[in-house]
């Protein structure tokens, strides 16, 4: 097998507990986002645009739909002769097998996947974030600084800093302190969970970490602090651009709403950085004679007869007459009945909202979530939609 300068390991096993019903049967990276994408499309497209042709995707929680979606990686140009995409679930070894105990352990368990490529660098990313980033520029930065690990960092709001791993850096971007989810953060430079390791260093630390009984086997909690303690060179790569962790209902909704701003902070219509995804293969959207659409994203296969305002509609959504959709995210193949009103909601794939039903209220800022395939009638009786 030919040597690769850098390969990527994409952590896609997260459960996404805080997304509630949206991740009941679905891994978080496979959650729909932005009218036609799934969250993982953004990192995979980043890989494609950064010239990375070998990606190991680590799966664990509810992987079936994600596996089916990824296939052999063709939409992201990852169906390659040497390398390409490989899906890496936990597996049995001679001495038994265990689930991935943490992010670092997941990589540890797949060291024998990495070794044949004999890479100089390994990029660790996760399938939970929405951003456009050229990892090649980050690799240049890593090589120039001679670091053992480079961590992409972004300035976040001080109130949010405690949700992340935060870094103190010096004038040369060298990390002088790293705290994982501190109660009282003293820096607002957050780790984006994007790491480039020099492979020989990472290898050592993975083995060392695995032997520790007290470790959580996590990059942010264990590997990075251990390297700090040992005086290794840790650098930060300052990322300027849009980056959003969509791990909660609110942030998922907000990130969708970001896309429909007059000047969206993340531009999807960027011909130099297309976000690749599996095409749903649907005809062009039909905007009917009674439809009114404003400040929205609408995808192929939709059929609109009602009013759509400040919303994101995935493919195959049917919106009947006299209905209103406002500030909502409507996932694929949802049917919205005549006269229905939907305010600030996320409607799961395949749900049916019967005629006349009202979801949410124009005066309420809470976000209502309707689960996949739910059937919502006027009495709000919920039952599974029968599939023929």
């Amino acid at each position: 097998m030919g040597r690769k300068e850098m390969i990527a390991m994409l952590l896609a096993g997260g459960e996404g507990k805080r997304l509630g019903v949206l991740t009941k049967d679905l891994a978080k990276p496979a959650v729909y986002f932005g009218g036609k994408y799934r969250i993982i499309d953004f990192t995979l497209s980043n890989c494609a645009h950064s010239g990375i042709d070998t990606v190991g995707v680590l799966t664990q929680y509810q992987p079936l739909e994600l596996n089916r979606y990824l296939g052999i990686g063709s939409p992201w140009g990852l169906d390659r002769r040497d390398g390409g995409m490989t899906i890496l679930p936990p597996y049995m070894k001679q001495k038994g097998g265990v689930w991935y105990k943490g992010t670092a352990n997941a990589i540890y368990q797949n060291m024998s996947f990495i070794e044949p490529y004999n890479p100089e660098y390994v990029l660790i990313i996760s399938g939970d974030h929405i951003y456009k980033m050229d990892y090649e520029l980050m690799l240049d930065h890593h090589k120039r600084s001679g670091a053992d690990v480079t961590i992409a960092g972004i300035e976040v709001d001080w109130k949010e800093a405690s949700r992340f791993g935060v870094m103190h850096i010096d004038d040369e971007d060298r990390i002088t302190a790293f705290e994982e989810k501190p109660k009282n953060p003293t820096s607002n430079i957050a780790s984006m969970g994007v790491y480039i390791f020099t492979w020989s260093e990472l290898q050592k630390y993975l083995i060392y970490d695995e032997a520790s009984r007290t470790s959580n086997h996590d990059f942010g909690k264990d590997i990075i602090p251990a390297m700090m303690r040992d005086g290794k060179r840790l650098h930060s790569y300052p990322f300027k651009g849009y980056w959003k962790d969509v791990g909660t209902i609110e942030s998922l909704w907000e990130a969708n709403m970001d896309l429909i701003a007059e000047e969206p902070p993340l531009e999807l219509a960027d011909s130099d950085w297309r976000i690749y995804s599996v095409s749903p293969n649907q005809p062009a959207q039909h905007i009917g004679a009674t439809a009114e659409v404003s400040a929205s994203l609408i995808t192929e296969g939709c059929k609109i007869e009602g009013i759509v305002d400040r919303s994101v509609l995935f493919y195959g959504v049917k919106v009947e007459k006299n209905s209103l959709i406002s500030e909502s995210v409507i996932m694929p193949n949802v049917r919205i009945g005549e006269g229905a009103r939907i305010y600030r909601a996320i409607i799961g794939e395949g749900a049916v909202i019967e005629a006349g039903v009202t979801i949410g209220s124009p005066d309420d800022s809470a976000i209502t979530v309707i689960a996949v395939d739910q059937f919502v009638t006027n009495d709000h009786l919920l039952q599974e939609v029968e599939h023929s």
Partner: protein, 370 residues
């Protein structure tokens, strides 16, 4: 498919009156219906009917065809053993290139002979339809026909041109027009023929031996009394797209939501090349009524009764009415566009007023700046 059938999409001498729309491309790749090319309809029909080996007999101006079809994977035709074969003329003699389709079939006879498949479905590319060929083959077998022609009963072809066909009560074809004339019949040929492969090869060789080289005009028309030729009546939506007016009217027909629901979904989905465009973006102040909009569009102005292909930008104050705007078209601020067809990459500057007529739409060629 239960029966062993290969598909042939025959682009040889496929005539059209689409003016500048076919100046740089063949009829098969004329953009249609906001995100498709004409060939997608018959190609998807074949694939949905279980045909997994399809040859496209390219003839002229086929760069866009090769680009569109690629490896065939968007139609699920990238297979280990069968799949898609694009066969351009196998000759370097200019006079031979202009010979009829039977000559070109003969040149590619190895392609037919090597395959164990027993039947062929030969079609053109300009019939906008969604056909279940499995039903056609079953009809062919039930009638013990030598040749089955797919036909459509339709009074108004929306200015499209098709050969008229006459059938007996039980469906036997008694006459097919050589040219598009005035035969009194409301049944049109969809230029789709099913026959055994060995019959096709026999027709190819005997016709060529007699100095004849056109499949329909020579091989089939002259044998209507000797061969059992039956007409299969297709019930679905048909658009015959080979004149500029029929192109315009058939596109506009897609705005009827019943046509949209039928043509693109029944009996199977229509596939096309994937472009990875983002969802269409409607800005504050946009107004869209009764229109088909593809992904990648950005709409700030008004769109009425129109068809916008991928990546079209309608700027503030612009009004697009009863028009077709192809890929990456830009309609500048406060411009007015009515009854027009804009080919790919046309740019209408600000404050222009462009009006065609419903019966004679204004047509702007590729990359034109107005």
């Amino acid at each position: 498919m239960k029966h062993k059938v290969m598909g042939v999409i025959n682009l040889i001498h496929e005539n059209d009156e689409l003016e500048r729309l076919t100046a740089g491309r063949c009829l098969a790749t004329v953009p249609f219906g906001a995100r498709y090319r004409l060939i997608d309809f018959v190609l998807s029909s074949m694939v949905n009917s279980g045909i997994s080996k399809v040859a496209v007999f390219a003839h002229t101006k086929y760069r866009s065809l090769m680009d569109h079809l690629g490896s065939g994977k968007h139609w699920d035709l990238q297979h280990r053993q069968s799949g898609l074969f694009v066969l351009p003329p196998a000759t370097d003699d200019i006079q031979e290139i202009s010979r009829g389709d039977l000559y070109h079939f003969y040149q590619q006879r190895d392609y037919f002979n090597r395959s164990p498949l027993e039947y062929v479905v030969i079609t053109r590319s300009h019939m906008v339809c969604n056909v279940d060929f499995e039903k056609v083959i079953q009809f062919h077998l039930d009638r013990e026909a030598d040749i089955t022609v797919v036909c459509k009963q339709q009074q108004d072809l929306l200015s499209g041109k098709a050969r008229k066909v006459k059938l007996t009560e039980d469906g036997r074809v008694t006459a097919i027009q050589d040219h598009y004339g005035h035969m009194s019949s409301d049944i049109s040929s969809m230029e789709m023929y099913v026959m055994r492969k060995d019959l096709l090869m026999e027709l190819v060789e005997t016709s060529l031996a007699q100095g004849q080289d056109h499949l329909v005009r020579h091989a089939i028309l002259s044998r209507l009394d000797k061969l059992k030729v039956y007409g299969y009546m297709y019930e679905g939506y048909l658009g015959v797209v080979n004149t500029l007016t029929s192109y315009y009217r058939n596109n506009m027909n897609l705005l009827d939501s019943d046509v949209w629901s039928e043509l693109f979904y029944q009996p199977g989905p229509i596939f096309t090349k994937v472009k990875d465009e983002p969802p269409a973006r409607y800005l504050v102040g946009s107004k869209v009524t009764n229109s088909l909009i593809a992904n990648g569009c950005r709409i700030e102005g008004t769109v009425i009764n129109s068809i916008l292909f991928r990546g079209v930008h309608v700027q503030k104050g612009a009004i697009v009415s009863n028009s077709i705007v192809m890929q990456n078209g830009v309609i500048g601020e406060n411009s007015f566009l009515q009854h027009s067809i804009l080919d790919k990459d046309v740019r209408v500057e600000a404050d222009r007023d462009i009006r065609g007529a419903a019966s004679a739409p204004f047509l702007a060629g590729k990359r034109k700046i107005i």
